[in-house]
Amino acid sequence: MTTTGSPALDARAIRAEFPMFVAPRPDGRPLHYLDSAATSQKPQVVLDAMNAYYRETNANVHRGVYEMAAEATDRFEFGRTAAARLINHPREALVLTKNATEAINLVAWAWGARELREGDEIVVTEMEHHSNIVPWQIVASMTGAKVLFAPVTPQGEVELDALRALIGPCTRMVAAVHVSNVLGTINPVREIVEMAHQAGALTMIDATQSVPHMPVDATSIGSDFLVFTGHKMLGPTGIGALAASPERLNAMEPFLGGGEMISDVTTEGSTWAEIPWKFEAGTPPIAEAVGLGAAVEYLEALGMDRVREHERATAELMINALGEVPGLTILGPTDPDRRGAAVSFTLDAVHPHDIAQFLDSKGVCVRAGHHCAKPLMRVLGTQSTTRASAHVYTTDEDILALQGALIECRSWFGA
């Protein structure tokens, strides 16, 4: 149990700050939104900040001499500063991208495609989202490197001894997810980074599901690369981040070329801008960066410790409530101290598609499918699962509605 001393989050009060939860649905159905691991809802302050940017200071960033352009640049760069502060990372080493996927691809191409050689090894875990597998497979097939998978136990934890054994002299990169989007498992990323560094390998931590829900200190994790995505942390779509060590970024060649990322361009060749702009070609997602900054301020005002405590308590409630549903099996760790509030389960032989469809008729939104983690599905011995996931606005009623709908669902499909 973590005790923070400060009062718990009031999810009901928080809901009042999210337009999605304030307006009734046209057909009168309630909205029990339990798909925040796919994308979170957005508070009014985020929408307002983006709206205000377009209404008050819309101009392209970094080049304009006039005051409004300078103001646009300030608001854009504020998004970066806020995101970097949230994870305790130097702002000049935080590259803004389109999403987490693009951030991983940036590293795969700007580092991997240039540095990897035949016989080199990239170690990932079986728990990864496809976005932390496929970019490595692509650069591996170009360079002759190999992608190795560290096994995950049937209980949904990375086998650390097996991971240690896989990391060897040929390992150039170890890529691991911080919190699993399928199982909620919290991985010991500091230990994994240390393991990799001892073997002289670099590290990529996919913090997409941790940054929105718990304090994440990128400096103390010490990974060479760490990524996250705006739309899962109460911010808009179209913005994500790569937090990298400044030395790495300085040593790397650019990913995409174009405007904004250059220092000089001649017919003979070009030189690059300083980091982080060297990795931000073209007009960036300005309004989205502004929205991300507002989302970070919103989370900071709630307090990430309290956000985590709400997450932990919600995970506990969810696991207890789901445990009472006949025929239901929870996948992944059941100790709420060791997991986030993304909970995957199966319900007898009822197919996840049918479960999700039935739940929708009760106003309960959950995800059904392979959750972009097919290697993990194979480990779990299934094609697909149903997943319920929470955020700061998730209430006890949401969980009880889920529980009730699942019990009804089972008899409807005659399981």
């Binding site: 197919h351 049918d354 469809q357 008729s361 097919k374 094609q383 697909s384």
Partner: protein, 149 residues
């Protein structure tokens, strides 16, 4: 809950609970394996063809109620049909699923109950999985017989 009853008509639940034509055919004239990228569900479809007719058809693999019921209905509807007729039925079903055709019960049999699925784009893929597998199976049968003599 109106929407749910529209989608999951009794006939669908009945085919789901009592699958017809399930399993594999040992000496199949053509076999195909399809999967639904959305959920990973798989379908194995075997046909036995004699004199250009489907004399036996079986579908196997796990999936949601819609995909299971659709496979079950398919095996009934196209049994003993001429290959061209079967393709015509599949095409009609495909167009119904995309909202491009008034469903014709004479062609579709029980599968007309799946009409409501057209409103749920993600589930359309579930319903179509086995039906498109049949289309591929017939194509593959024709290719091998063309090449084989």
């Amino acid at each position: 809950m109106g929407g749910l009853d529209d989608l999951y008509q009794q006939l669908i639940l009945d085919h789901y609970r009592n699958r017809r034509g399930r399993g594999r055919i040992e000496n199949a004239s053509a076999s195909v394996h399809e999967h639904n990228p959305v959920c990973g569900d798989e379908c194995f479809l075997d046909i036995l063809v004699e004199d250009n007719r489907i004399v036996e058809i079986r579908a196997d693999g796990d999936g949601c109620s819609i995909s299971q019921a659709a496979a079950s209905m398919l095996t009934e509807v196209v049994a003993d049909k001429d290959l061209n007729e079967a393709l015509e039925i599949v095409e009609h079903f495909r167009r119904m699923m995309h909202g491009d055709a008034e469903p014709d019960e004479d062609l579709l049999g029980d599968a007309i109950a799946l009409e409501g699925v057209a409103k749920y784009p993600v589930r359309v893929k579930c319903a179509l999985l086995s039906w498109l597998a049949l289309r591929d199976a017939i194509a593959s049968y024709r290719e091998t017989t063309a090449h084989g003599g």
